[in-house]
Amino acid sequence: MIDWLVLAIAVPLLGSVVAAALPGRASAIGLATAVLTTGSALAASLVVAEGGSLRSDLGGWGAPLGIALAADGLSAALLVMSNLVALGISVYALDYFSGGVRRHFWPLWLLLWTSLNGVFLAADLFNVYVTLELLGISAAALGALSGRPDAVAANLRYLLVGLLGSMTYLLGVALLYTELGTLDIGLAAEALVPGPLAHTAFALMLGGLLLKAALFPLHFWLPPAHSQAPAAVSAALSALVVKAAVYLVLRLWMDLFGPVAGPGAGAMLGVLGAAAVVWGSWRAFRAERLKLLAAYSTVAQVGYLFLFFPLLAIAPPPEREALLGALVLLALTHGFAKAGLFLAAGLLQKRVGHDRIDELGPAIQSLPVVGLTLGLAGVALIGLPPSGTFIAKWILLAESIGAGQWWWAPVVLIGTLLASAYVYRLLANAFGPAAQAEPAAEGALAPIGRLAQAPALLMTLVAVVVLGLGGEPLWGLLEGVGP
Protein backbone atom coordinates (compact mmCIF):
# COMPACT_ATOMS: atom_id res chain seq x y z
CA MET A 1 0.00 0.00 0.00
CA ILE A 2 1.63 3.25 -1.07
CA ASP A 3 2.06 5.53 1.89
CA TRP A 4 0.34 8.67 0.66
CA LEU A 5 1.16 10.69 3.75
CA VAL A 6 4.89 10.41 3.18
CA LEU A 7 4.47 11.13 -0.52
CA ALA A 8 2.58 14.31 0.28
CA ILE A 9 5.75 15.57 1.97
CA ALA A 10 8.54 13.86 0.04
CA VAL A 11 7.31 14.87 -3.43
CA PRO A 12 7.33 18.65 -2.91
CA LEU A 13 10.65 18.40 -1.03
CA LEU A 14 12.19 16.52 -3.93
CA GLY A 15 10.63 18.95 -6.36
CA SER A 16 12.11 21.93 -4.58
CA VAL A 17 15.60 20.45 -4.62
CA VAL A 18 15.39 19.63 -8.31
CA ALA A 19 13.95 23.08 -9.04
CA ALA A 20 16.81 24.65 -7.06
CA ALA A 21 19.34 22.60 -8.98
CA LEU A 22 17.95 23.37 -12.42
CA PRO A 23 16.84 27.03 -12.35
CA GLY A 24 16.29 27.00 -16.10
CA ARG A 25 13.34 24.65 -15.99
CA ALA A 26 12.17 25.74 -12.54
CA SER A 27 8.56 26.50 -13.48
CA ALA A 28 8.09 23.27 -15.43
CA ILE A 29 9.37 21.22 -12.51
CA GLY A 30 7.36 23.34 -10.13
CA LEU A 31 4.09 22.73 -11.93
CA ALA A 32 4.73 18.98 -12.27
CA THR A 33 5.51 18.73 -8.54
CA ALA A 34 2.42 20.80 -7.74
CA VAL A 35 0.20 18.39 -9.61
CA LEU A 36 1.82 15.33 -8.06
CA THR A 37 1.65 16.71 -4.54
CA THR A 38 -2.00 17.66 -4.85
CA GLY A 39 -2.66 14.17 -6.20
CA SER A 40 -1.00 12.45 -3.26
CA ALA A 41 -2.65 14.78 -0.75
CA LEU A 42 -6.09 14.11 -2.22
CA ALA A 43 -5.40 10.37 -2.24
CA ALA A 44 -4.39 10.56 1.42
CA SER A 45 -7.59 12.42 2.26
CA LEU A 46 -9.65 9.85 0.38
CA VAL A 47 -8.10 7.06 2.41
CA VAL A 48 -8.82 9.04 5.56
CA ALA A 49 -12.40 9.66 4.43
CA GLU A 50 -12.97 5.92 4.27
CA GLY A 51 -10.69 4.70 7.03
CA GLY A 52 -11.34 7.41 9.62
CA SER A 53 -7.65 8.12 10.20
CA LEU A 54 -4.27 7.21 8.73
CA ARG A 55 -1.00 6.85 10.58
CA SER A 56 2.46 5.91 9.38
CA ASP A 57 5.49 5.53 11.65
CA LEU A 58 8.54 6.88 9.83
CA GLY A 59 11.63 4.74 10.00
CA GLY A 60 9.63 1.83 11.37
CA TRP A 61 10.25 2.77 15.02
CA GLY A 62 7.44 2.81 17.54
CA ALA A 63 5.63 5.94 18.60
CA PRO A 64 7.68 7.02 21.63
CA LEU A 65 11.01 6.82 19.89
CA GLY A 66 10.34 7.50 16.23
CA ILE A 67 8.20 10.15 14.57
CA ALA A 68 4.78 9.39 13.13
CA LEU A 69 2.69 11.11 10.53
CA ALA A 70 -0.99 11.04 11.31
CA ALA A 71 -3.98 12.32 9.40
CA ASP A 72 -7.51 12.36 10.74
CA GLY A 73 -10.63 14.08 9.43
CA LEU A 74 -9.54 17.53 10.54
CA SER A 75 -6.10 17.42 8.94
CA ALA A 76 -7.48 15.75 5.81
CA ALA A 77 -9.98 18.58 5.28
CA LEU A 78 -7.34 21.27 5.68
CA LEU A 79 -4.88 19.26 3.62
CA VAL A 80 -7.31 19.15 0.71
CA MET A 81 -8.00 22.87 0.96
CA SER A 82 -4.38 23.95 1.18
CA ASN A 83 -3.26 21.67 -1.63
CA LEU A 84 -6.01 22.83 -3.97
CA VAL A 85 -5.30 26.48 -3.17
CA ALA A 86 -1.57 25.87 -3.59
CA LEU A 87 -2.20 24.24 -6.96
CA GLY A 88 -4.25 27.26 -8.00
CA ILE A 89 -1.49 29.59 -6.84
CA SER A 90 1.12 27.57 -8.72
CA VAL A 91 -0.86 27.84 -11.97
CA TYR A 92 -1.27 31.57 -11.30
CA ALA A 93 2.42 32.01 -10.56
CA LEU A 94 3.37 30.47 -13.89
CA ASP A 95 3.02 33.74 -15.69
CA TYR A 96 2.86 36.13 -12.74
CA PHE A 97 6.60 36.02 -12.05
CA SER A 98 9.07 37.29 -14.63
CA GLY A 99 12.23 35.35 -15.59
CA GLY A 100 14.73 36.42 -12.95
CA VAL A 101 12.45 36.13 -9.95
CA ARG A 102 10.97 32.88 -11.18
CA ARG A 103 14.02 30.72 -10.39
CA HIS A 104 14.00 32.02 -6.83
CA PHE A 105 10.25 31.58 -6.42
CA TRP A 106 9.70 27.92 -7.28
CA PRO A 107 12.13 26.14 -4.93
CA LEU A 108 11.08 28.28 -1.96
CA TRP A 109 7.42 27.88 -2.88
CA LEU A 110 7.71 24.07 -2.94
CA LEU A 111 9.51 24.15 0.41
CA LEU A 112 6.67 26.21 1.83
CA TRP A 113 4.28 23.64 0.42
CA THR A 114 6.26 20.80 2.04
CA SER A 115 6.14 22.50 5.41
CA LEU A 116 2.38 23.12 5.03
CA ASN A 117 1.73 19.45 4.40
CA GLY A 118 4.17 18.68 7.19
CA VAL A 119 2.24 20.79 9.70
CA PHE A 120 -1.08 19.22 8.81
CA LEU A 121 0.30 15.71 9.10
CA ALA A 122 2.63 16.14 12.07
CA ALA A 123 1.93 14.03 15.13
CA ASP A 124 5.15 14.79 17.00
CA LEU A 125 5.61 17.93 19.06
CA PHE A 126 9.25 18.60 18.11
CA ASN A 127 8.54 17.79 14.50
CA VAL A 128 5.86 20.51 14.59
CA TYR A 129 8.58 22.93 15.75
CA VAL A 130 10.90 22.11 12.88
CA THR A 131 8.05 22.30 10.35
CA LEU A 132 6.91 25.64 11.77
CA GLU A 133 10.46 26.94 11.41
CA LEU A 134 10.65 25.78 7.81
CA LEU A 135 7.24 27.43 7.22
CA GLY A 136 8.36 30.70 8.80
CA ILE A 137 11.68 30.91 6.99
CA SER A 138 10.35 30.02 3.53
CA ALA A 139 7.36 32.36 3.97
CA ALA A 140 9.59 35.26 5.05
CA ALA A 141 12.02 34.60 2.20
CA LEU A 142 9.16 34.48 -0.32
CA GLY A 143 7.64 37.61 1.12
CA ALA A 144 10.86 39.55 0.63
CA LEU A 145 11.15 38.32 -2.95
CA SER A 146 10.19 41.67 -4.42
CA GLY A 147 13.25 43.24 -2.81
CA ARG A 148 11.55 46.56 -2.08
CA PRO A 149 12.92 48.00 1.20
CA ASP A 150 9.56 48.12 2.99
CA ALA A 151 8.76 44.55 1.88
CA VAL A 152 12.12 43.35 3.22
CA ALA A 153 11.63 45.23 6.50
CA ALA A 154 8.11 43.84 6.98
CA ASN A 155 9.20 40.29 6.28
CA LEU A 156 12.25 40.63 8.47
CA ARG A 157 9.99 41.61 11.36
CA TYR A 158 7.75 38.65 10.43
CA LEU A 159 10.77 36.32 10.57
CA LEU A 160 11.94 37.62 13.94
CA VAL A 161 8.46 37.45 15.45
CA GLY A 162 8.08 33.95 14.03
CA LEU A 163 11.36 32.91 15.61
CA LEU A 164 10.32 34.24 18.99
CA GLY A 165 7.01 32.39 18.69
CA SER A 166 8.76 29.14 17.82
CA MET A 167 11.18 29.50 20.71
CA THR A 168 8.33 30.01 23.18
CA TYR A 169 6.57 26.99 21.69
CA LEU A 170 9.78 24.97 22.03
CA LEU A 171 10.12 25.86 25.70
CA GLY A 172 6.60 24.55 26.18
CA VAL A 173 7.65 21.31 24.47
CA ALA A 174 10.72 21.14 26.70
CA LEU A 175 8.59 21.41 29.82
CA LEU A 176 6.23 18.74 28.51
CA TYR A 177 9.14 16.45 27.74
CA THR A 178 10.47 17.00 31.26
CA GLU A 179 7.26 15.73 32.81
CA LEU A 180 5.86 13.27 30.28
CA GLY A 181 9.02 11.94 28.70
CA THR A 182 7.43 11.58 25.27
CA LEU A 183 7.06 13.82 22.27
CA ASP A 184 4.27 12.03 20.43
CA ILE A 185 0.95 13.89 20.75
CA GLY A 186 -1.11 10.75 21.26
CA LEU A 187 1.04 9.34 24.08
CA ALA A 188 1.47 12.76 25.66
CA ALA A 189 -2.31 13.20 25.73
CA GLU A 190 -2.72 9.96 27.66
CA ALA A 191 0.07 10.75 30.12
CA LEU A 192 -0.92 14.39 30.66
CA VAL A 193 -2.42 15.13 34.08
CA PRO A 194 -3.86 18.64 34.51
CA GLY A 195 -1.44 20.33 36.91
CA PRO A 196 0.66 23.47 37.14
CA LEU A 197 3.17 22.22 34.58
CA ALA A 198 0.47 21.27 32.11
CA HIS A 199 -1.06 24.74 32.36
CA THR A 200 2.28 26.52 32.00
CA ALA A 201 3.31 24.40 29.03
CA PHE A 202 -0.14 24.97 27.51
CA ALA A 203 0.19 28.73 28.01
CA LEU A 204 3.66 28.82 26.45
CA MET A 205 2.81 26.70 23.42
CA LEU A 206 -0.45 28.54 22.91
CA GLY A 207 1.37 31.89 23.18
CA GLY A 208 3.92 30.89 20.59
CA LEU A 209 1.26 29.66 18.17
CA LEU A 210 -0.98 32.70 18.69
CA LEU A 211 2.00 34.86 17.75
CA LYS A 212 2.30 32.95 14.49
CA ALA A 213 -1.47 32.88 13.92
CA ALA A 214 -1.57 36.69 14.40
CA LEU A 215 -4.46 36.77 16.84
CA PHE A 216 -5.42 40.33 17.79
CA PRO A 217 -2.78 41.78 20.07
CA LEU A 218 -0.05 39.83 18.29
CA HIS A 219 -1.17 40.62 14.73
CA PHE A 220 1.00 43.76 14.17
CA TRP A 221 3.38 41.99 11.84
CA LEU A 222 0.75 40.54 9.50
CA PRO A 223 -0.68 43.50 7.53
CA PRO A 224 2.64 44.96 6.30
CA ALA A 225 4.10 41.52 5.57
CA HIS A 226 1.06 40.28 3.65
CA SER A 227 0.41 43.46 1.74
CA GLN A 228 4.01 43.98 0.61
CA ALA A 229 4.57 40.45 -0.62
CA PRO A 230 3.90 39.58 -4.28
CA ALA A 231 0.26 38.62 -4.87
CA ALA A 232 0.81 34.88 -5.26
CA VAL A 233 2.86 34.79 -2.05
CA SER A 234 0.49 36.93 -0.01
CA ALA A 235 -2.35 34.65 -1.15
CA ALA A 236 -0.44 31.69 0.27
CA LEU A 237 0.49 33.64 3.43
CA SER A 238 -3.03 34.73 4.23
CA ALA A 239 -4.94 31.67 3.15
CA LEU A 240 -2.57 28.90 4.21
CA VAL A 241 0.29 29.89 6.51
CA VAL A 242 -1.94 31.59 9.08
CA LYS A 243 -4.36 28.67 8.82
CA ALA A 244 -1.58 26.22 9.70
CA ALA A 245 -0.96 28.01 13.00
CA VAL A 246 -4.69 28.10 13.77
CA TYR A 247 -4.91 24.39 12.89
CA LEU A 248 -2.12 23.67 15.38
CA VAL A 249 -3.88 25.61 18.11
CA LEU A 250 -7.02 23.57 17.39
CA ARG A 251 -5.05 20.31 17.26
CA LEU A 252 -3.36 21.00 20.62
CA TRP A 253 -6.60 22.27 22.09
CA MET A 254 -8.52 19.15 21.29
CA ASP A 255 -6.01 16.30 21.33
CA LEU A 256 -3.33 17.21 23.80
CA PHE A 257 -4.71 19.79 26.17
CA GLY A 258 -8.31 18.53 26.28
CA PRO A 259 -8.59 18.38 30.08
CA VAL A 260 -6.32 21.37 30.67
CA ALA A 261 -8.00 23.80 28.28
CA GLY A 262 -10.92 24.89 30.42
CA PRO A 263 -13.63 27.45 29.68
CA GLY A 264 -11.37 30.18 31.11
CA ALA A 265 -8.80 29.81 28.36
CA GLY A 266 -11.65 29.49 25.86
CA ALA A 267 -13.22 32.73 27.04
CA MET A 268 -9.87 34.52 26.77
CA LEU A 269 -9.43 33.30 23.18
CA GLY A 270 -13.00 34.32 22.44
CA VAL A 271 -12.45 37.85 23.73
CA LEU A 272 -9.23 38.20 21.72
CA GLY A 273 -11.04 36.83 18.70
CA ALA A 274 -13.86 39.32 19.13
CA ALA A 275 -11.37 42.17 19.37
CA ALA A 276 -9.62 40.87 16.26
CA VAL A 277 -12.91 40.76 14.34
CA VAL A 278 -13.86 44.32 15.17
CA TRP A 279 -10.36 45.81 14.89
CA GLY A 280 -9.46 43.90 11.73
CA SER A 281 -12.70 44.76 9.94
CA TRP A 282 -12.41 48.41 10.97
CA ARG A 283 -8.85 48.74 9.72
CA ALA A 284 -9.79 46.88 6.55
CA PHE A 285 -12.55 49.39 6.02
CA ARG A 286 -10.12 52.24 6.36
CA ALA A 287 -7.36 50.69 4.23
CA GLU A 288 -6.51 52.54 1.02
CA ARG A 289 -4.78 49.71 -0.76
CA LEU A 290 -6.56 46.53 -1.79
CA LYS A 291 -3.90 44.14 -0.47
CA LEU A 292 -3.78 45.96 2.86
CA LEU A 293 -7.56 45.60 3.00
CA ALA A 294 -7.25 41.88 2.34
CA ALA A 295 -4.52 41.55 4.97
CA TYR A 296 -6.62 43.24 7.65
CA SER A 297 -9.60 41.12 6.66
CA THR A 298 -7.38 38.09 7.33
CA VAL A 299 -6.82 39.40 10.85
CA ALA A 300 -10.60 39.67 11.21
CA GLN A 301 -11.24 36.18 9.83
CA VAL A 302 -8.67 34.68 12.23
CA GLY A 303 -10.65 36.43 14.94
CA TYR A 304 -13.79 34.64 13.73
CA LEU A 305 -12.02 31.29 13.92
CA PHE A 306 -11.07 31.93 17.52
CA LEU A 307 -14.65 32.91 18.39
CA PHE A 308 -15.47 29.20 18.21
CA PHE A 309 -13.13 28.23 21.04
CA PRO A 310 -15.16 29.40 24.07
CA LEU A 311 -18.13 27.44 22.70
CA LEU A 312 -16.01 24.38 21.89
CA ALA A 313 -14.76 24.38 25.47
CA ILE A 314 -18.20 23.93 26.97
CA ALA A 315 -20.26 22.30 24.20
CA PRO A 316 -21.57 18.75 24.84
CA PRO A 317 -20.72 16.18 22.10
CA PRO A 318 -23.57 16.70 19.59
CA GLU A 319 -23.08 20.48 19.43
CA ARG A 320 -19.31 20.00 19.51
CA GLU A 321 -19.43 18.12 16.20
CA ALA A 322 -21.52 20.85 14.59
CA LEU A 323 -19.23 23.59 15.95
CA LEU A 324 -16.09 21.78 14.82
CA GLY A 325 -17.57 21.31 11.39
CA ALA A 326 -18.53 24.98 11.24
CA LEU A 327 -15.03 26.06 12.29
CA VAL A 328 -13.40 23.90 9.62
CA LEU A 329 -15.94 25.06 7.03
CA LEU A 330 -15.14 28.69 7.87
CA ALA A 331 -11.40 27.99 7.61
CA LEU A 332 -11.80 26.28 4.25
CA THR A 333 -14.07 28.94 2.80
CA HIS A 334 -11.80 31.73 3.97
CA GLY A 335 -8.81 29.91 2.52
CA PHE A 336 -10.34 29.72 -0.94
CA ALA A 337 -11.95 33.15 -0.88
CA LYS A 338 -8.89 35.02 0.44
CA ALA A 339 -6.56 33.31 -2.01
CA GLY A 340 -8.93 34.24 -4.83
CA LEU A 341 -9.09 37.82 -3.58
CA PHE A 342 -5.31 38.22 -3.43
CA LEU A 343 -4.80 36.68 -6.84
CA ALA A 344 -7.43 39.00 -8.29
CA ALA A 345 -5.69 41.92 -6.55
CA GLY A 346 -2.46 40.80 -8.17
CA LEU A 347 -4.11 40.85 -11.58
CA LEU A 348 -5.52 44.31 -11.00
CA GLN A 349 -2.14 45.56 -9.82
CA LYS A 350 -0.48 44.09 -12.87
CA ARG A 351 -3.19 45.68 -15.03
CA VAL A 352 -2.99 49.28 -13.83
CA GLY A 353 0.21 49.30 -11.83
CA HIS A 354 -1.35 50.21 -8.48
CA ASP A 355 -3.96 48.85 -6.13
CA ARG A 356 -5.40 51.99 -4.57
CA ILE A 357 -9.01 50.93 -4.08
CA ASP A 358 -10.67 54.18 -5.12
CA GLU A 359 -9.02 54.24 -8.53
CA LEU A 360 -9.56 50.60 -9.43
CA GLY A 361 -12.79 51.38 -11.32
CA PRO A 362 -11.47 51.15 -14.88
CA ALA A 363 -9.32 48.13 -14.05
CA ILE A 364 -12.29 46.15 -12.75
CA GLN A 365 -14.38 47.12 -15.76
CA SER A 366 -11.77 46.04 -18.23
CA LEU A 367 -11.50 42.63 -16.55
CA PRO A 368 -15.09 41.39 -16.02
CA VAL A 369 -13.90 37.96 -14.83
CA VAL A 370 -11.76 39.59 -12.13
CA GLY A 371 -14.77 41.71 -11.18
CA LEU A 372 -16.84 38.57 -10.74
CA THR A 373 -14.05 36.99 -8.68
CA LEU A 374 -13.90 40.03 -6.40
CA GLY A 375 -17.68 39.88 -6.05
CA LEU A 376 -17.66 36.20 -5.14
CA ALA A 377 -14.74 36.63 -2.74
CA GLY A 378 -16.63 39.53 -1.15
CA VAL A 379 -19.72 37.38 -0.73
CA ALA A 380 -17.65 34.66 0.94
CA LEU A 381 -15.84 37.14 3.23
CA ILE A 382 -19.03 38.82 4.41
CA GLY A 383 -20.80 35.49 4.78
CA LEU A 384 -23.76 36.11 2.49
CA PRO A 385 -26.02 33.13 1.87
CA PRO A 386 -24.61 30.98 -0.83
CA SER A 387 -21.17 30.89 0.81
CA GLY A 388 -19.85 28.41 3.38
CA THR A 389 -19.14 31.32 5.74
CA PHE A 390 -22.88 31.97 6.02
CA ILE A 391 -23.56 28.46 7.27
CA ALA A 392 -20.59 28.58 9.63
CA LYS A 393 -21.80 31.89 11.07
CA TRP A 394 -25.31 30.52 11.31
CA ILE A 395 -24.11 27.56 13.39
CA LEU A 396 -21.83 29.81 15.47
CA LEU A 397 -24.72 32.14 16.25
CA ALA A 398 -27.13 29.28 16.97
CA GLU A 399 -24.65 27.55 19.29
CA SER A 400 -23.62 30.76 21.04
CA ILE A 401 -27.25 31.58 21.81
CA GLY A 402 -27.99 27.95 22.67
CA ALA A 403 -25.03 27.79 25.05
CA GLY A 404 -26.14 31.00 26.70
CA GLN A 405 -23.07 32.96 25.64
CA TRP A 406 -25.15 35.30 23.54
CA TRP A 407 -22.55 38.10 23.55
CA TRP A 408 -20.71 36.59 20.62
CA ALA A 409 -23.72 37.35 18.40
CA PRO A 410 -23.34 41.17 18.31
CA VAL A 411 -19.62 40.74 17.59
CA VAL A 412 -20.41 38.58 14.57
CA LEU A 413 -23.05 41.12 13.56
CA ILE A 414 -20.64 44.06 13.74
CA GLY A 415 -18.01 42.05 11.88
CA THR A 416 -20.46 41.16 9.12
CA LEU A 417 -21.66 44.73 8.69
CA LEU A 418 -18.11 46.12 8.63
CA ALA A 419 -17.14 43.40 6.18
CA SER A 420 -20.00 44.35 3.89
CA ALA A 421 -18.91 47.98 4.21
CA TYR A 422 -15.39 47.32 3.02
CA VAL A 423 -16.44 44.89 0.33
CA TYR A 424 -19.00 47.44 -0.85
CA ARG A 425 -16.29 50.10 -1.08
CA LEU A 426 -14.38 47.69 -3.25
CA LEU A 427 -17.23 46.79 -5.58
CA ALA A 428 -18.90 50.19 -5.73
CA ASN A 429 -16.59 51.36 -8.47
CA ALA A 430 -17.32 48.23 -10.46
CA PHE A 431 -20.67 49.84 -11.16
CA GLY A 432 -19.36 53.36 -10.72
CA PRO A 433 -19.61 56.14 -13.29
CA ALA A 434 -16.14 55.26 -14.52
CA ALA A 435 -17.78 52.35 -16.27
CA GLN A 436 -19.44 54.48 -18.87
CA ALA A 437 -16.96 57.32 -18.92
CA GLU A 438 -13.72 55.90 -20.35
CA PRO A 439 -13.24 52.18 -20.54
CA ALA A 440 -9.39 52.10 -20.43
CA ALA A 441 -8.10 55.55 -21.19
CA GLU A 442 -5.07 55.97 -18.95
CA GLY A 443 -2.04 54.18 -20.30
CA ALA A 444 -1.69 50.85 -21.97
CA LEU A 445 -3.32 48.27 -19.70
CA ALA A 446 -1.15 45.19 -19.44
CA PRO A 447 -2.85 42.23 -21.14
CA ILE A 448 -3.96 39.57 -18.67
CA GLY A 449 -4.03 36.03 -19.98
CA ARG A 450 -7.11 33.83 -19.61
CA LEU A 451 -4.98 31.26 -17.80
CA ALA A 452 -4.05 33.77 -15.10
CA GLN A 453 -7.66 34.67 -14.35
CA ALA A 454 -8.90 31.09 -14.15
CA PRO A 455 -7.44 29.97 -10.77
CA ALA A 456 -8.71 33.00 -8.88
CA LEU A 457 -12.22 32.59 -10.27
CA LEU A 458 -12.26 28.84 -9.64
CA MET A 459 -11.17 29.28 -6.04
CA THR A 460 -13.81 31.86 -5.21
CA LEU A 461 -16.43 29.73 -6.96
CA VAL A 462 -15.49 26.81 -4.73
CA ALA A 463 -15.71 29.05 -1.67
CA VAL A 464 -19.17 30.29 -2.55
CA VAL A 465 -20.92 27.44 -4.31
CA VAL A 466 -19.27 24.13 -3.44
CA LEU A 467 -18.64 24.83 0.23
CA GLY A 468 -21.94 26.66 0.49
CA LEU A 469 -24.21 23.92 -0.72
CA GLY A 470 -22.00 20.82 -0.63
CA GLY A 471 -20.73 21.21 2.94
CA GLU A 472 -22.43 18.10 4.24
CA PRO A 473 -19.66 15.51 3.65
CA LEU A 474 -17.36 17.67 5.79
CA TRP A 475 -19.21 16.63 8.92
CA GLY A 476 -18.97 13.01 7.86
CA LEU A 477 -15.21 13.43 7.53
CA LEU A 478 -14.90 14.95 10.99
CA GLU A 479 -16.68 12.11 12.71
CA GLY A 480 -13.80 10.60 14.59
CA VAL A 481 -11.93 13.81 15.41
CA GLY A 482 -11.04 14.85 18.89
CA PRO A 483 -12.20 13.50 22.25
Binding site: L65, F126, Y129, V130, E133, G136, I137, A140, A141, A144, G147, P149, V152, A153, N155, L156, L159, L160, L163, L164, M167, T168, L170, L171, A174, L175, Y177, T178, L183
Partner: protein
Amino acid sequence: MYGLGGILLFLLGVWSFLVHDGLLRKLIAINVTGAGVFHVFIAVAYRGLDAAPDPVPHALVLTGIVVAVSATALALTLGQRLERPDD
Protein backbone atom coordinates in the same frame (compact mmCIF):
# COMPACT_ATOMS: atom_id res chain seq x y z
CA MET B 1 20.27 23.54 38.49
CA TYR B 2 21.37 24.12 34.91
CA GLY B 3 17.73 24.00 33.95
CA LEU B 4 17.08 27.09 36.08
CA GLY B 5 20.01 28.74 34.35
CA GLY B 6 18.40 27.85 31.02
CA ILE B 7 15.08 29.39 32.04
CA LEU B 8 16.92 32.51 33.20
CA LEU B 9 18.60 32.75 29.80
CA PHE B 10 15.25 32.33 28.09
CA LEU B 11 13.78 35.21 30.09
CA LEU B 12 16.82 37.38 29.45
CA GLY B 13 16.48 36.75 25.74
CA VAL B 14 12.77 37.55 25.68
CA TRP B 15 13.29 40.67 27.76
CA SER B 16 15.99 41.92 25.45
CA PHE B 17 13.92 41.10 22.36
CA LEU B 18 11.02 43.16 23.66
CA VAL B 19 13.08 46.09 24.92
CA HIS B 20 15.91 46.61 22.43
CA ASP B 21 15.12 47.20 18.80
CA GLY B 22 18.34 47.07 16.77
CA LEU B 23 18.33 44.12 14.32
CA LEU B 24 21.61 42.74 15.64
CA ARG B 25 20.48 43.12 19.26
CA LYS B 26 17.22 41.33 18.46
CA LEU B 27 19.05 38.51 16.73
CA ILE B 28 21.40 38.02 19.66
CA ALA B 29 18.37 38.08 21.93
CA ILE B 30 16.75 35.31 19.92
CA ASN B 31 19.90 33.25 19.94
CA VAL B 32 20.17 33.68 23.69
CA THR B 33 16.52 32.64 24.09
CA GLY B 34 17.23 29.59 21.92
CA ALA B 35 20.31 28.80 23.92
CA GLY B 36 18.18 28.99 27.07
CA VAL B 37 15.64 26.51 25.73
CA PHE B 38 18.34 24.12 24.50
CA HIS B 39 19.96 24.47 27.89
CA VAL B 40 16.76 23.20 29.51
CA PHE B 41 16.69 20.27 27.11
CA ILE B 42 20.27 19.27 27.85
CA ALA B 43 19.77 19.73 31.59
CA VAL B 44 16.84 17.34 31.36
CA ALA B 45 18.94 14.86 29.41
CA TYR B 46 21.70 14.89 32.03
CA ARG B 47 21.37 11.84 34.28
CA GLY B 48 24.23 12.08 36.68
CA LEU B 49 27.98 11.83 36.08
CA ASP B 50 28.15 8.09 35.51
CA ALA B 51 24.89 7.13 33.71
CA ALA B 52 24.86 7.68 29.94
CA PRO B 53 22.78 10.80 29.13
CA ASP B 54 19.50 10.55 27.19
CA PRO B 55 20.42 10.96 23.46
CA VAL B 56 17.01 12.16 22.23
CA PRO B 57 17.20 15.74 23.57
CA HIS B 58 20.74 15.92 22.24
CA ALA B 59 19.50 15.24 18.74
CA LEU B 60 16.71 17.80 19.22
CA VAL B 61 19.17 20.44 20.37
CA LEU B 62 21.47 19.69 17.45
CA THR B 63 18.61 20.22 15.05
CA GLY B 64 17.61 23.33 16.98
CA ILE B 65 21.05 24.88 16.72
CA VAL B 66 21.26 24.33 12.98
CA VAL B 67 17.77 25.78 12.51
CA ALA B 68 18.66 28.79 14.68
CA VAL B 69 21.83 29.49 12.72
CA SER B 70 20.09 29.24 9.37
CA ALA B 71 17.36 31.63 10.53
CA THR B 72 20.01 34.02 11.85
CA ALA B 73 21.86 33.87 8.53
CA LEU B 74 18.70 34.70 6.60
CA ALA B 75 17.78 37.49 9.00
CA LEU B 76 21.27 38.99 8.74
CA THR B 77 21.19 38.92 4.97
CA LEU B 78 17.75 40.55 4.85
CA GLY B 79 18.93 43.12 7.38
CA GLN B 80 22.02 43.82 5.33
CA ARG B 81 19.84 44.03 2.22
CA LEU B 82 17.87 46.74 4.05
CA GLU B 83 20.89 48.92 4.79
CA ARG B 84 22.45 48.78 1.32
CA PRO B 85 19.87 47.63 -1.22
CA ASP B 86 22.08 49.08 -3.99
CA ASP B 87 25.07 46.80 -4.38
